[in-house]
Homo-oligomer: 240 residues x 2
Amino acid sequence: MVMKYGILYGIGVGPGDPYLMTVKGARVLERCRHVFVPKARSENGSIALAIAGRYLGAGCQVHELVFPMSDDRGELSLRWTEAARSVAGVLGTGEDACFLTLGDPFLYSTYIYLVRSLREQLPGVEAITVPGITAFSAAAAMAEFPVGEGRERVVIVPASDNLDTVGEALAGGGTVILMKVGKRLAAVLDLIEKAGFLDRAVYVSRAGLDGQQVATDLRKLRQERMEADYLSILLVHAGG
Amino acid sequence: MVMKYGILYGIGVGPGDPYLMTVKGARVLERCRHVFVPKARSENGSIALAIAGRYLGAGCQVHELVFPMSDDRGELSLRWTEAARSVAGVLGTGEDACFLTLGDPFLYSTYIYLVRSLREQLPGVEAITVPGITAFSAAAAMAEFPVGEGRERVVIVPASDNLDTVGEALAGGGTVILMKVGKRLAAVLDLIEKAGFLDRAVYVSRAGLDGQQVATDLRKLRQERMEADYLSILLVHAGG
């Protein structure tokens, strides 16, 4: 008897609005029996599960995986290995499993590390990835802010711990997308002001989730000197 | 009596696979009575309509808008104005209208120009944009190619007429996404080879459409010296 592994479905649930899931993602979830959901802290709920929950079939078992917000590469690597082991446990029985991820699975997502670690543990396993709406597409739609136009380039920078790269991107022209702004909001707004683009930028936080915020007056936002949610984004037109 | 304009729904239909439409986009289309679809030539069908056709309600009227592939800004501007006038004609009767767009509406899409022109003609008109899966997310999912990882930046460049910008992007590190490669494929592959990244790149053409192609051996692809489809993309890991 040849035992076949189950298939891993990596599903991007989009940035927040449950109806921004893809039809494909919703269909895969409807017949899914095991769904793995990432969350940042064991005592909190999973945002990805809150978004996709309505699509889960009745008999679906939810497995929570805790990925702490950490910069410790060693600890993170350990967590990914453990998470992949849990997923491999289900796939090893021949059953399929879904892994939910916010936004798009291959754009700054834990899914990248999970798949890598899973392939080390189960070489040859089949993984099918269902892309998701990125937070910047949702933010652009809400603020009616063109991201890519004509021949201009678009630069995406995760801004959480990367102020030099943010400055370089703003100096390089085109559209700059600053993701995961979080605690660095004030510093990032200072950089945008210094570059002269404060009137050509928008801020969107928690798009489609509770506490959603869309700000087009960044001078006012800057004066408030607040911290942003981790799920927040700045879109900047940085010139030709 | 106060006459209200209808609402414009700009709907990203994604890169090709009908099931990569969002649930929201599909629902809006189901109850839509007027749908505007862009196409490149009057004698060809609309790709966006082929993707989204299955979601249209029975009584929906399809309006075709021809946007020729042209570099002549004057001609393009005239076409956008005419297209916006057609859309305004429907909205002016108080009925809603949908406009379909490949990929995501605010990422290198005709929708940007259409909305701009429409707002000149009907100031204060309501437009609701439904984001779509970008071609690069679909390509990344097919090739299992991480796009954004850790602190690295991502640069998106429309490659069709932009070889200098392509070279600069490759020199800048992170992940480089080259969209709409088309006729410049051979020249772009030469640049990637020169930068030393030919083994760290993938090519995806017509993702989810007839004639789909996924190539991970770019040395072989380069030897073939072929032209690519307009709807083709290169993803390149350009180093730290």
